[in-house]
Amino acid sequence: MTDAAWQAVWLSVQVSFWATVLSLPVGIWVAHLLARGRFFGRQVLNGLVHLPLILPPVVTGYLLLLAFGRQGPVGRVLDEWFGIVLAFRWTGAVLAAAVMAFPLMVRAIRLAIEAVDPKLEAAAATLGASRWQVFATVTLPLIAPGIIAGAVLAFAKAMGEFGATITFVANIPGQTQTLPSAIYAFLQVPGGDGAAFRLVVISVAVAMGALVASEVLARRVHARVAGRDA
């Protein structure tokens, strides 16, 4: 395999990791808002979160480019005020992957939150726990299996994300060429199928590793949460 291919593998793992890790707190927060909030505009937020699922990935990529590109309103502010450039950088690939994976992550966490018995939260409040403490000490540990599920879905999705990423950050080897972009590139040339297949295998291996690890972790956490001794 070529250097560029290995670079793509490594880049994809990094991008997927950061996309997952960075979006997790936001995902938990939004999931909580959607599950328990009673505010005006909840439906709008819900719709926004789902948008990347509904739109063809290329469109999401274009929208990101329009907003976060150097010419875009957000992109310009980020660049001028903080010196952060996303478009055509690997950081942009992180953003694209995070956005695309966000609906999956939020839904998994939200389902977990909705399954928490509000009576336990009430019990915690009677013991003096503020809303935030109730969340941190009761809700959060109880939804750990959902968070793991959300994170692994996000990671897997990020590993496979192509359309939005290539549109937002292009397909520059060594800089923004993720695994799917590299696979795509190989599929574009005669006789490239073999190389593409090797990359697919690597991609699947990495994601499966994460998947199996998450299952083992989730099982352990689930046993705890169900109140059984580990």
């Binding site: 009576k119 336990l120 009430a122 019990a123 915690a124 409040a125 009677t126 013991l127 003096g128 726990a129 503020s130 809303r131 403490q133 109730v134 000490t137 009761v138 540990p141 109880l142 705890r224 949460v225 169900a226 109140g227 059984r228 001794d229």
Partner: protein, 357 residues
């Protein structure tokens, strides 16, 4: 001191209660579905009543008129739920330490762990506890919150007699430490032992409320309390511990002997004497296995629909209740003013019915 005035509707059920719970234990007594848990939840802030006002120790917790509604975690109630509601992801020790953890208080768990016999369970998770064990942990968790008000919803229902007997003195000590306790129970024995005040609910309404000694000795209150559980509470003082294991108590009507009671000579006690455990005799009986014979005067006789009669006997300034058959009441000519002897077995007054005064 806790003042509760609450009205609330659920579907077909309407709650409309008002009572004052002074320092000590206020027992909420009533049949299943009469609204006990609902009242307790309103005090804890878990049920927002349609209207009303709840004041604890001068602090307004809820007032529909002025829109006050203190959030649950600021109310500092220790709530022992009817279902244990332990945190499944925490061990027993972590459940017990929970209140300390969230409030940042340092609490010594040892006495509560010892009293509730939880030492061997500390590392377990709630899923691996028996019903009674879980309930004990729930009690411990609430006690360790060092609450300003303690709400206990049938805390002992899942426990055996021996365990109850171990836990009750602890609750008494809390009562005496002036933490107001709202105590829901079906067991009049428990209520009589603990309660300073009794509030009887029926279908969402208060049908009787008042000082425990008064309510329990009032024949008119018996239907609301349940016949079998009727009985009076009299004051006593430990006069001495005798060699054969009996303790002599001084009452207004004379001495009585009960099986060894822990307590120093001179200590004041409350002794509940169930109406059904009292036998009446016109003359002074001889040659009986019952040691305790108290002379008194019948102050009221109440006959109901059934074959029974409830007789109130004045002993000095206190009252005893006796349940007899109407046939016996007639045969003995029991009516107000008649002098009688109340016969009372030592062993009939169980440990559970003796509380620190």
């Amino acid at each position: 001191m806790l003042e509760v005035r609450v009205t609330h509707r659920f579907g077909g059920f309407s709650l409309d209660v008002a009572f004052t719970a002074p320092a000590g234990v206020t027992a909420l007594f009533g049949r299943s579905g009469s609204g006990k848990t609902s009242v307790v939840e309103a005090v804890a802030g878990l049920l927002r009543p349609d209207a009303g006002r709840i004041v604890s120790g001068g602090r307004v917790l809820y007032d529909s008129a002025s829109g006050v509604d203190v959030p649950v975690h600021r109310r500092v109630v220790g709530y022992v739920f009817q279902d244990a509601r332990l945190f499944p992801h925490l061990t027993v020790a972590e459940n017990l330490a929970y209140a300390g953890r969230v409030t940042g208080r340092r609490v010594d768990m040892a006495p509560v762990v010892a009293m509730l016999g939880l030492g061997a369970l500390l590392a377990r998770r709630p899923g691996a506890l028996s019903g009674g064990e879980a309930q004990r942990v729930a009690i411990g968790r609430a006690l360790l919150a060092e609450p300003a008000v303690l709400l206990m919803d049938e805390p002992l229902a899942a426990l055996d007699e021996a365990r109850k007997a171990e836990i009750l003195p602890y609750v008494e000590r809390l009562r005496d430490a002036a933490v107001p306790i709202l105590y829901v129970s079906h067991s009049l024995a428990e209520v009589a032992r603990l309660a300073t005040t009794i509030v009887v609910l029926e279908a969402g309404r208060v049908v009787r409320a008042g000082a425990a000694a008064e309510v329990l000795a009032d024949p008119a209150a018996v239907p609301a309390l349940g016949l079998r559980e009727a009985g009076a509470v009299i004051g006593a003082r430990i006069a001495g511990h005798e060699a054969d294991g009996l303790t002599r108590l001084e009452t207004v009507a004379g001495p009585i002997w009960l099986p060894r009671i822990a307590g120093e000579v001179g200590a004041a006690l409350r002794v509940r004497i169930a109406a059904q455990d009292v036998i009446l005799s016109r003359g002074r009986p001889e040659g009986l296995s019952a040691l305790n014979i108290l002379p008194g005067v019948v102050s009221a006789v109440r006959t109901g629909e059934g074959p029974g009669a409830l007789v109130q006997i004045a002993l000095g300034g206190e009252f005893l209740l006796a349940r007899v058959t109407r046939r016996s009441a007639t045969a003995l000519g029991l009516e107000a003013g008649v002098e009688v002897h109340a016969i009372l077995k030592s062993v009939a007054v169980a440990q559970v019915d003796i509380g620190a005064g």
